[in-house]
């Protein structure tokens, strides 16, 4: 059953560098050595290169069908589960990898495995009618417009940049969300998210600046480059909501960053997290965010004179 377990060590592509360094603009990658780097992976499919993908599929099929027959499974969701489990087992056995590598593989092939698009792992399929431009406005344009409107850019300025008017915008802002809701694979929504994160790079928006203060500009730059700052503000915003404040407004008031710009950066971090999935890194930032959220919560509690049950003690 085991094919050639160890691929050649030459010409190895480090496509799955762990995401310890989630710096958005930096090219440097942190060498977070993986114990499992003996296996060489195809950069597209993340299959090990020491076996044939067809052989892999055949093996999964063989094991799954045998189990389905033996257990007399008929429900489609249970059948899907059987395939899911064997695909994981075979992948981890053939590649001698850890579960993080398997999750990266599963995310990368989410559409094929689950029929569902995965953030950061989805490319636009031009034959998909749900992705055809509406009144000449493609999904990438629509997402960029939403990001900028969400950060307070005037509507007229946006309409001018894209050569549309309020009437056309009304149609776009009805039809694109409707397509997202119709799409059972979530491709439209996931691509919307990916494009939302790239709004700044949209060629038609180059002349348009969000009306940011100098401080806001600097903070936005820092947000893009410093994951700790990003997770701190995410925690702070959450704490603000829990203390009866408008978290988005709080970020704007205190850091000068609009919600559209903030979410745009959030999409980028989410993409990186999916593409370079590493449970230790995820946990690390998650704990950091919780810690910061608790710090801000304490601050907000003090500002309102404490929490309602502070005086009830054990």
């Amino acid at each position: 059953m085991f094919k050639k377990l160890f691929g050649s060590n030459t010409g190895k592509e480090e496509v799955n560098q762990n995401a310890q360094n989630q710096n958005l603009n930096s090219d440097e990658t942190n060498d977070f050595d993986s114990e499992y780097e003996e296996t060489e992976y195809d950069p597209e499919t993340l299959h090990g290169t020491h076996y044939d993908v067809d052989d892999f599929e055949e093996e999964v099929e063989r094991l799954a069908q045998a189990w389905i027959e033996q257990e007399d499974i008929t429900s489609q969701s249970e059948i899907n589960n059987v395939f899911f489990n064997y695909r994981r087992d075979v992948y981890m056995a053939w590649n001698q990898c850890d579960s993080d590598q398997y999750i990266r593989f599963d995310q990368r092939n989410s559409m094929a495995h689950h029929g569902i698009a995965s953030m950061g792992n989805t490319v636009e399929d031009e034959s998909n009618p749900l992705l055809a431009p509406v009144h000449g406005i493609a999904l990438r344009d629509y997402a960029a417009i939403c990001a900028k409107l969400g950060s307070g850019v005037a509507e007229d300025e946006i309409y001018k940049a894209f050569g549309i008017d309020a009437t056309i915008w009304g149609e776009l802002n009805t039809i694109w969300p409707a397509r997202m809701a119709e799409d059972t694979t979530f491709s439209v929504s996931v691509l919307f998210g990916q494009y939302f994160g790239e709004a700044d790079q949209h060629p038609k928006l180059q002349g348009i600046k969000t009306n940011l203060s100098e401080e806001g500009e600097a903070n936005l730059e820092r947000l893009k480059n410093d994951p700790y700052f990003y997770y701190e503000l995410t925690g702070a915003r959450q704490a603000a909501y829990e203390y009866g404040m408008d978290g988005a407004q709080w970020i704007l008031d205190n850091f000068g960053i609009g919600l559209g710009d903030f979410q745009s950066v959030a999409m980028k971090y989410m993409e990186l997290q999916n593409q370079n999935f590493d449970s230790n890194v995820v946990l690390h930032y998650h704990e950091y965010q919780d810690e910061k959220q608790a710090e801000y919560a304490e601050k907000f509690a003090a500002e309102q004179g404490g929490n309602v049950a502070d005086d009830v003690e054990f």
Binding site: S75, S77, G170, A178, V312, F314
Partner: protein
């Protein structure tokens, strides 16, 4: 943490056991008192919050109800804060103590039973708190309710009032608004052919966004019917479970036959629920989407696609 246990002597635990028995007794009492007090506070918070939240939710002046949402979020935050406090106290004063005693004294027999009872009693009391928390939390969540028929009726009234009110900007001939539009639309003047642009009011624009909630409210009866049917499956399953266990010890063949008949009856009901649940779900979805299409007929094709997607997801 509990320094008094450090002088433990594992071989001679009869005299020390009195010490930890007193400690678990004290912690249990304090835990119960603490929960009594914090439950009162939680109830006071809920009672004080609900009328305010209800008033803010129904306030017609603030069209987006943002103040309500901020307030609700703040109340939820306080509720969460209470829940976390209880969780931490239970973890710290009950579970940690339990594990510490177990580790340091390895109590056996009757003492072990006492220690386990301490944990179970505290856990049960904690569960009662959780139930009360859910009741409060549900009551607070229930304030976030809007009867969308009212908003919709306003839109209908507005439409009746404005549909024949407009004239062509170019020649002054009347232009009637043929239906409720929820986005801008160009209308042609039949006299001079000029394109006029109709811009719906803020409340008419909202129709697109609350249409689903309104349709859901109109199909609430069938939704409830479906939910109830869905719950029956687990309910009958749990009813059967003790009966099945009792059969293991039953010697009397007559009683055995009776129990078996009961089980068969429950299983039939359970199967009935499994059969009906998807049918009831479809029934509910058909009604919801039919209502939804009635509210925004311009999106009927799109809604039909979504209905078909939902129906395809139901396994029979």
């Amino acid at each position: 943490m509990f320094g008094l246990f450090n002088k433990k002597d594992a071989d001679n635990n009869t005299s020390v056991s009195a010490e930890w028995l007193a400690q678990i007794h004290e912690n249990q009492q304090r835990f119960f008192d603490f929960l009594d007090k914090i439950e009162v506070r939680m109830q006071e918070l809920t009672d004080a919050a609900i009328p305010e939240l209800t008033e803010m939710r129904n306030n017609t002046e603030e069209s987006f109800k943002m103040d309500f949402h901020r307030m609700k979020s703040g109340i939820d935050g306080q509720m969460e804060n209470i829940r976390k406090k209880v969780y931490d106290v239970h973890d710290d004063k009950i579970l940690d103590l339990y594990h510490e005693i177990k580790h340091n004294y390895s109590p056996k027999d009757k003492e072990r039973d006492l220690l386990d009872t301490f944990r179970t009693d505290c856990r049960n009391r904690y569960n009662i708190f959780e139930e009360k928390y859910q009741v409060c939390s549900n009551a607070i969540n229930a304030t976030d309710y809007e009867d969308y028929e009212i908003a919709y009726q306003k839109v209908l009234d507005e439409y009746a009032a404005i549909k024949d009110k407009f004239n062509c900007k170019q020649c002054g001939s009347p232009i009637s608004i043929e239906k409720i539009f929820f986005i801008n639309v160009h209308l042609n003047c039949s006299a001079c052919q000029t394109q006029n642009t109709f811009e719906p009011s803020t409340q008419a624009r909202m129709v697109q966004h609350f249409a689903q909630d309104l349709a859901q409210q109109r199909a609430a009866d069938l939704y409830e019917k479906y939910q109830k049917e869905d719950e029956k499956e687990r309910f009958h399953y749990h009813e059967m479970h003790p009966l099945k266990l009792s059969l293991n010890f039953e010697k009397d063949s007559k009683i055995k036959a009776e129990v078996e008949a009961k089980i068969a009856d429950l299983e039939a009901k359970r199967q009935e629920s499994i059969k009906n649940t998807p049918l009831f779900r479809k029934e509910y979805l058909h009604k919801k989407f039919a209502e939804w299409k009635k509210i925004i007929p311009d999106l009927a094709d799109h809604l039909e696609t979504r209905l078909q997607n939902e129906l395809a997801n139901i396994e029979e």
